[in-house]
Amino acid sequence: MAELKSAKIYGVPQLDGKYSVVLDMWPLEDPEQNRLYPFYDNMKQGRWTTTKCKKCGYISYPPVVACPNCWGDELEWIDLPKTAKVVSLTETMAGAPLGFDSPLIVAWLGFDKSHPLKHLFVRIINCQAGQLKPGDEVQFVTFEVPSIPIDVKKETKICDRVYYAFEPVKK
């Protein structure tokens, strides 16, 4: 087998600098690409939001462009309560997907009866392995993720992006 040499270019050199990765790990969040951009704009303000149908009152998650209950398209953005309780969790100590640090802590959350959501799978950050246990309270938190270049007419626009996870509530 040939020895790897740093001077040799592997893969598809023609794409160098054009695409950061084959699979973008994060959503396209800007108005040019996604009609749900208010979700991400709100997240940049620290808000966790979703859509409520003005016609039937159905609250969906994830947010939508047409209501999955009546297919109405008159929707409003509402704020979601930002705390939940851990029902179950797992800690992946090795073998997390590229881009996610180990330990990758994920949890199944349960929400209060007053909350529009019943349960949700989430990533837990700002947390040490072994720190969190079922029954503990966690809260919504945002963080920056890599920006992405997109073409807008003749310009290339750099879109800054955020995403969310949950973190332990300090006791």
């Binding site: 699979l23 790990m25 994060w26 959503p27 998650y61 994830p62 029902v87 179950s88 969790l89 797992t90 800690e91 992946t92 100590m93 073998g95 997390a96 997907p97 590229l98 881009g99 996610f100 990758l104 994920v106 199944w108 959501l117 019943k118 349960h119 949700l120 799978f121 989430v122 990533r123 995403y163 996870a165």
Partner: protein, 397 residues
């Protein structure tokens, strides 16, 4: 209106499952060869339809419309249907449902259903990274949900808490299925035995799973022939095996839509089973042999409950008491299942169908006595969709 035709599975075959030095097209040709050995006299020209199941065929071939490529490589010229389906882990079981509908309606006469996946990629990191595409990308995958052990680990945790299921009971699933797979020459873990001590001492993958709770990362391909009763009779002297009923239920694509009260409850599987049983005009107690989707040990425990082989919450005791063994109430995963054979997503449903076909024809390696009704089941992704197909030695009247 013309009377509905009856659809039969005639036979089939698989390639060797495992870490393969072969492309998806190589493996599909191996599976077609195995199928031709299983159905002597079958010729490519006999086939008028192709339904090809694969999720990652695009990645593995760098091609998009892959069904015509498969048709060309297998030497067939479909004239009624030529299509690829992607329902992830249930791909070829879904294809069997579609083939059944096409045959019952008279659109097709002889359909080749095949499936393949190559999950061991040129570099190991990509196999995990690629799994970020198996969920709703913008929501669950962005939370790091890629390979499924963490999610199914939480299912096991929920089942243990709610129903008292034990690690030893989960171990009995793995030990049983490795024993079934021991004499399967095409199983990834063929020839490999597993004791309960081996199981309990295996390295941890993620709590509460050890290595043998999880199916391996597998390359493979499988192929079966679904044909009208008339064409099936002309193709084989073996007893006919009829497709009696099917059900497929999808309730959500993202975790917020999970349909159960807890992760231990899978109402979408219960519903898929009920639909299939009703169509097949039988009940769970009539099933003589089953192939369920044991992607993890806990999966089989939940599945024998939701499919009605035992009461809800008693799946752990059911499997541990030997009811899934060849002389038990409902022998399950008799060729080794996903745990021992491996799980190349799109190939698994047809592999299960081959085993049920052999069981109902009385020629399986781990033969269940006088098997008249068989069932296959797959779940897709992180339990987003359930697919059930029921077979019998007699058609629905």
């Amino acid at each position: 209106m013309a009377e509905k035709k009856k659809a039969c599975i005639v036979g089939g075959g698989t390639c060797k499952f495992g870490v393969r030095a072969a492309t998806i097209f190589d493996m599909l040709q191996e599976a077609a060869h195995a199928m031709s050995q299983d159905i002597p006299g079958l010729k490519p020209k006999d086939i008028d339809g192709l339904i090809f199941a694969s999720t990652t065929a695009g990645r593995n071939s760098n091609s998009l419309n892959t069904a015509p490529i498969v048709a060309h490589r297998l030497g067939i010229k479909p004239s009624s249907i030529c299509v690829r389906v992607d329902t992830l882990c249930s791909g070829s079981n879904t294809a069997i449902i579609l083939a059944t509908g096409l045959i019952e309606s008279g659109i097709s006469d002889v359909v080749l259903v095949c499936g393949t996946e190559k999950l061991n990629l040129p570099q190991r990191w990509e196999s995990i990274y690629m799994n970020l595409m198996t969920n709703d990308h913008d929501w669950d995958s962005a939370m790091g949900l890629a390979v499924p052990p963490p999610f199914f680990g939480m299912i096991a945790d929920a089942h243990m808490k709610k129903y008292g299921t034990t690690k030893e009971q989960m171990g009995s699933v793995s030990v049983t299925n490795y024993a079934y797979g021991f004499n399967n020459p095409n199983a990834q873990f063929g020839g490999k035995s597993l004791t309960i001590d081996d199981y309990l001492n295996a390295r941890t993958v993620c709590d509460p799973f050890g290595l043998n709770d999880c199916c391996p990362v597998t390359d493979g391909a499988s192929a079966v022939i679904i044909a009208s009763e008339e064409r099936a009779k002309a193709m084989t002297n073996r007893p006919l095996v009829y497709i009696r009923g099917t059900g497929q239920v999808a309730t959500h694509g993202m975790s917020a839509g999970w349909p159960g009260e807890t992760l231990a409850d899978w109402p979408h599987l219960k519903k898929a089973g009920e639909i299939a049983y009703k169509a097949a005009q039988i009940t769970p107690k009539d099933i003589d042999v089953a192939q369920t989707h044991d992607c993890f040990s806990i999966s089989e425990i939940v599945e024998v409950e939701e499919l009605g082989f035992c009461k809800k919450g008693e799946g752990g005791a059911f499997v541990a008491s030997g009811q899934v063994k060849v002389d038990g109430q409902t022998p399950t995963n008799t060729d080794g299942g996903l745990l021992a054979v491996g799980h190349p997503y799109g190939a698994t449903g047809a592999r299960q169908a081959v085993e049920i076909c052999k069981q109902l024809q009385g020629r399986a390696l781990n033969q269940v006595k006088n098997a008249k009704f068989g069932l296959t089941h797959n779940l897709s992704g992180v339990c987003a969709q359930h697919t059930v197909v029921i077979y019998g030695t007699e058609p629905v009247k």
